[in-house]
């Protein structure tokens, strides 16, 4: 496979007496969907915040396209090309789709908004994602949950990122809407973006992820190729069910070396 676009190694982060992350590594290749899995409190969100520059790591290195970089602020991450879509979508309900897509990055000449240019670019972007929304001039409040999620993802793409991090993108969505979002994630991968998908939903992970990276109690607890790995193995890594003498012995006897960490 090609060189990873983003590679983290030895990442540690401590909050007071809590060692939230210790010696965590993660890599994402272009055109790859990596699912970041773990139980509540496993350190997923902390790792996302480290990558997004919200809470920089205490120690560890971050390689961007092979060269070491420091991400101390959210602006650093955005500049590199890391887009983060948080669980609460951070859309302004009273503004229309175009205004939301360009929020904070409006195109303007001498302070006057270039509405025509923005609407055209928005239409192009949504068409390229095969997203069909009747009118771009309706308030975002009138959209369904799935459409809102898609708008939030599309907004992050305007910055032309290389890595997109999605925090629980399907958490509150219905069946059809989840499928829409998963389609979109696949399209991002096909466009050559690296995608980090944080999810609790194993069905989603199995549907779109290429690799599953499991965190447990702030440490790497496994890195699986999704198509070669059973559901049970991943769940065992998440819950730590494999982490006892009996299971370890069973593992040694049955399928040796199926688990790292």
């Amino acid at each position: 496979m090609s060189e990873p676009v983003l590679e983290l190694s030895g990442i540690s982060k401590r909050f007071g007496a809590v060692q939230a992350l210790s010696d965590v590594s993660l890599r994402v290749h272009p055109g790859e969907v990596v699912a970041l899995l773990g139980d509540n409190g496993a350190g997923k969100s902390t790792l996302v915040k480290v990558i997004a520059g919200v809470n920089p790591a205490d120690t560890g290195t971050l390689l961007w396209e092979g060269r070491p970089v420091t991400v101390a602020r959210p602006a650093d991450a955005q500049q590199l090309g890391i887009a983060t879509i948080y669980q609460d979508l951070a859309l302004c309900d009273n503004l229309d789709i175009v205004a939301n897509l360009f929020l904070g990055g409006e195109r303007s000449t001498a302070g006057v908004l270039d509405e025509v240019g923005m609407e055209r670019r928005a239409r192009e972007l949504l068409d390229s994602l095969s997203v069909s929304i009747p009118s771009l001039r309706v308030p975002v409040a009138s959209l369904s949950g799935g459409q809102r999620q898609i708008i939030a993802i599309a907004r992050s793409l305007l910055g032309e990122p290389k890595v997109v991090m999605l925090d629980e993108p399907t958490a509150a969505l219905g069946v059809a809407q989840t499928a829409q979002v998963l389609d979109l994630i696949e399209r991002l991968r096909d466009q050559g973006l690296g995608v980090i998908l944080i999810s609790h939903n194993m069905a989603d992970v199995r549907a779109v992820a290429d690799r599953a990276m499991v965190l447990r109690l702030g440490r790497n607890a496994g890195d699986f190729r999704v198509e070669d790995t059973s559901y049970e193995e991943i769940v065992a890594a998440i819950t730590g069910a494999a982490d006892n003498p009996v299971a370890r012995r069973a593992g040694r006897v049955a399928v040796p070396g199926s688990e790292e960490a």
């Binding site: 602006a75 948080y86 609460d88 979508l89 951070a90 859309l91 302004c92 309900d93 009273n94 503004l95 205004a99 929020l103 904070g104 990055g105 409006e106 303007s108 302070g111 006057v112 908004l113 025509v116 240019g117 609407e119 055209r120 239409r123 192009e124 972007l125 068409d127 390229s128 994602l129 069909s132 929304i133 009747p134 009118s135 001039r137 309706v138 308030p139 975002v140 409040a141 009138s142 959209l143 793409l157 032309e160 096909d190 466009q191 050559g192 973006l193």
Partner: protein, 416 residues
């Protein structure tokens, strides 16, 4: 990157089948308007209907109500509170409230009179300093609110009391300072334009509107975006032209178009354009819609908040200057009493939501005219201010109820 795939070269994509297309026929335009109304997007309709009803009622009770002289007086009478409303609208769009506009207008008037009359500073300079006083006060309010995190309600409530105290202090034991009848201050509300100027302004305004709208729609068509039809642009232009030319005609029957009213209209138009067409306006709406979303999008929320409070107090100060001009004096009661409530009520009656993120600068004009018409009509009928207060309160309550109901209706029709 791949998502940059040029689509522009292709033919314009077919409109989405789910989008209800309205024809450009008059019937299509009416149907579209009705659909928006049912969806709770009342726009300026309730207030315009209300204004017509109020005018009809007062005209039937006293035939002087719609006389050119009374209407001319009405335009001057709404200017001061109307300007304050303009600032209040900005604050309401943020989802906050400014209770200090009345006191700020009073203290600015006091600064103006003290500087111009007691210290003999040229009147134009005194006006500028009075307005600047308002700006500084607004920056203080905004900073305490945005940076320290004190609720705007409390900050401006303190302002309401504190600046009134400052006003009383400045005016000293006299309590009233008269300004000369022939200076720049008095000139602001004593100037009327000859009829030709009034007509010229009306033609220019309507012509500019029609020209710029057509140009904008043509650019949208050229870019392959849905655009308003020529019929709709003409309909909108006519809807604008009727009140503009009618108003100029009526005002020309008396003294002509008053300068003060033009100042007010100018502020309203400029604020409307700033809110709808500029990045700054978009940021104000964004902060009013969701401050957290705005912050995440990289908008400097604190700066927007401080600037909006500064603008609100600046406009309050301008309103205070015009109040001094109209009354030839500033007194201890300037800017107190019902001034604050009228300024906020005008904004809400005009259709700006108290819940933030929704409204327009034209609310100040329409709401101001409604309240001005009620006041003027009740004076003509020689009613007591007790009756005026009660009727104003009822109108305000109706406006807020409309706001709340239409908000619920928008929710039901999924329009925020």
């Amino acid at each position: 990157m791949a998502q940059q795939t040029p689509v522009a070269g292709e033919a314009a994509p077919a409109p989405d089948p789910r989008l209800i297309v309205t024809g450009s026929s008059p019937r299509g335009l009416v149907a579209a308007a009705l659909r928006r109304l049912r969806g709770g997007e009342l726009g300026a309709l309730p207030v315009i209907v209300g204004l017509i009803v109020i005018c009809a009622v007062f005209q039937s009770l006293n035939s002087n109500f719609l006389s050119p002289q009374n209407l001319s007086n009405l335009t001057l009478q709404v200017v001061s509170t109307g300007l304050m409303s303009c600032g209040v609208i900005m604050v309401l769009l943020l989802g906050e409230i400014d209770l200090s506009v009345g006191s700020v207008s009073g203290v600015s008037g006091a600064v103006l009179a003290v500087l111009a009359v007691n210290h003999g500073i040229p009147e134009v300079a005194a006006i500028a300093l009075a307005v600047l006083t308002g700006t500084l006060i607004g920056v203080v309010h905004g900073t305490v609110f945005a940076k320290v995190g004190v609720p705007a309600f409390v900050v401006t409530l303190a302002g309401l009391i504190g600046w009134q105290g400052a006003q009383l202090y400045l005016l000293g034991s006299d309590g009233t300072i008269n300004v000369p009848y022939d200076g720049a201050i008095a000139y602001l509300t004593q100037t009327y334009f000859v009829p030709a100027v009034g007509w010229g302004i009306a033609v220019a305004a309507v012509g500019l509107y029609a020209g710029l709208t057509l140009l904008g729609e043509r650019r949208r068509t050229a870019a392959g975006l849905p655009a308003k039809s020529a019929a709709e642009v003409i309909a909108r232009t006519v809807l604008l032209a009727v009140p503009v030319f009618g108003g100029v005609a009526v005002l020309n029957l008396w003294n002509g178009v008053p300068l003060a009213f033009l100042i007010f209209l100018g502020f309203v138009v400029v604020f409307d354009l700033v809110l709808r067409k500029t990045r700054y306006g978009r940021m104000v709406f964004a902060v009013g819609g969701s401050a957290e979303a705005a912050r995440r999008a990289g908008i400097n929320v604190d700066l927007i908040r401080i600037s909006v409070f500064a603008l609100a107090s600046t406009l309050a100060a301008v309103g205070g200057v015009l109040a001094v001009s109209r009354g030839f004096a500033v007194s201890q009661s300037s800017g107190s009493g019902d001034v604050l409530m009228l300024a906020i009520a005008a904004a809400v009656i005009g259709g700006t939501s108290l819940f933030g993120g929704r409204g327009s600068a034209y609310s100040a004009l329409l709401g101001g005219l409604v309240l001005g018409a009620i006041t003027s009509g009740l004076y003509l009928l020689q009613m007591d201010s007790s009756v005026r207060y009660m009727i104003t309160a009822a109108v305000l309550l109706i406006a807020v109820i409309l706001d709340a109901v239409s908000r619920r209706s928008r929710r039901a029709h999924a329009r925020g």
